[in-house]
Amino acid sequence: MKVLLANRMERCIGCHSCSLACARQVHKKFSWSMAGIRIHSSGGMTTGFEAKLCVACNPAPCALACPTDALTQREGGGVKVKHSLCIRCGACAEACPVDAIYLGEGLPYLCIHCGRCVPFCPQGCLELVDEPDKEAALAPECAPFGHMEEQ
């Protein structure tokens, strides 16, 4: 089971390419918000950026809060999402401890750990790792500009 980690956000340049790629590829939207990963400014451009994304809780409070099984626990952390079952109550977003769920027209948008955003980060901030290797990603190596070439 793979998990998307954003452990190298200190490298982030705020280009939003990851977020736009997720919206485009995963959710088939042209959007800044309907994405599993959203880049926020951590207090103006002078102080850098932070990623809002699912941190793969296990058990996941959002899935536990969902009354219709639109969100269900994924083995190894995180959740599976089925929009057709969603009644747009917003309980999942409220339950998320890290504000990683965006409600677009009431539907939840969150990271499903597919990793399709990773090649679009030019700084190597993101990584899709096997869940047991999660801790290894805490020691980032340098990734030069041109990261995509190395994927």
């Binding site: 705020g14 700084q123 070439e149």
Partner: protein, 583 residues
Amino acid sequence: MWTQEHFRVLHVDLTARKSRVLEFGNPVDALGGSGLAAALYDEYGLPQEPAHHPDQPLIFAIGPLTGYYPLMSKVVCAFKSPYHEQYAESHAGGRMALAMRFAGYHALMITGRAATLSVLQAGSRSMQIKDVHYLRGKDVFSTGKLLRSLTRSSDSRGHRSIIRIGPAGEKGSSYACINVDTYRHFGRLGAGAIMGLKNLKAVAMEGDADFQMPGGKAYAKIYKDFFQKVTATDMMRKYHDLGTPQNLIPLNELKSLPWRNLQATSDPAVDRISGETFAEELLLRQTACAGCPVGCVHIGLLRQQFAKDHEFLYRQVSYDYEPIFAMGSMLGLDAASNVLVLLEETEKVGLDVMSAGVALAWATEALDTGLISEKETLVPLRFGDVKGYAQAIRHLGLASNDFYKTLAQGSLVAAEKYGGGDFACVLGQEMAGYATGEVYFASQATSFRHSHLDTGAYSYDQKRKEQDTDAAVKFLVEDEQGRMELCSMVSCLFARSVYTHDALQEALAAVELTDMADNLTQASANVQQLRWKLKIATGFDPHAVKIPKRFTEVETWRGKIDETFMWDVQKNYADAIMKMAST
């Protein structure tokens, strides 16, 4: 969202405190960006009224590819300039382009004058004008901090753009800039003063809507191709690596870097303010405009000791080639950290950094030659003396006395009053940072934005083999038309090698704008023509262009300036402009 039927424009009337959404124009003909801005000014502008007329529109426009592709990340700001009373444009990156895109507008047009100092806050489902009289006189940084709190919504951080002015804009300096998201600017011809005249301290735009993706697989493939080109090849590497300051050493070696009010074009001290020195000693990090993976914005770390016992302030100051020229070589500074000191001061007051630096260089020489005294300048100005310049920038931004009030209207305005027109480095406006030769000087003095961004004339000077007037003018006209395509999309011009004419057509077709793709050549020619028409309708006479004596005294790598050739290029270029504007 981008239909082929009309543009969607948010028009805000500050006098009436009302807004409306216009369905305006024809995108196939006007494209967007420069073309859309010109079409809006053509319809709503008051060419015969002065720039400070409250009903003059202040226009911000994005393009049909904004957000769809990497580096389609700029906004065109159009207005009648208080500097020369002509139709003008300025372009900026930051987050505003995507914020406008995701707010659902192709343009924002502001007319009228608010009763009190105000901030305009808009999104896809919101529009408010708030009184912020308490921000009067606040510098750009403290204004930004307060506005972030004032305009925050639940999910806006990072998806919102705040543009604002400082004291210079409120005071009406002819080269007050608009600061965009801290590190980018609508600079040069006084867009900040127009905001000030409208009693508009800031605009906060929130990109909070979403749209359907264009159909078909072509878009995904083309996006990936462009992304690969700009991140995984060397095409854009220099912009990310040293950034534009990489140009300092090569231009200095070519005798094309202005030093000390253009008294020299080369100096061994370049090593102390070069891109390499900035990168090795001061570079803190790179950052990017939203939608651009290149990260060309270079942020330097400035440490300043303010008390004993090792007490320091730290500042994050963005730097680029031309700010380093204007507040570095042009003022004879030979320490990179001192350049950051001046850039920081200029940011605070909200002046265009290039214009301010060149104006202070003129003032320094005027003081040195006795045309003015410290009674006027209030502080000693000497090439290389950072302390005097730091204080002078504050005086200039605040228009502290008659002298600074006059200098804030431009070096030539000051020279008319005090003398020294021969050494005022003005080519339509305070010069840009290239002293490459005759074609560039003629081009900058005459061209639309009086900037190095209208054409590649600075590059043409470096490559040309002979003094061929016809070839030079042909280059200027054709190169400008090519740039009209990019400036209507609105792409960062750093990507001009990626977004060729054919690539743009392909990109447009992939997002289902095939009519626009098919009409791109004709439409960009129309945009070029309309812009010149507007500039001439607002008073520009290309045949009346003057090039101050200092530019004829310069020695470049090609040797002494050939005045005959320079004036031939200028005259023939002026003819070509008049022909374009009259057809």
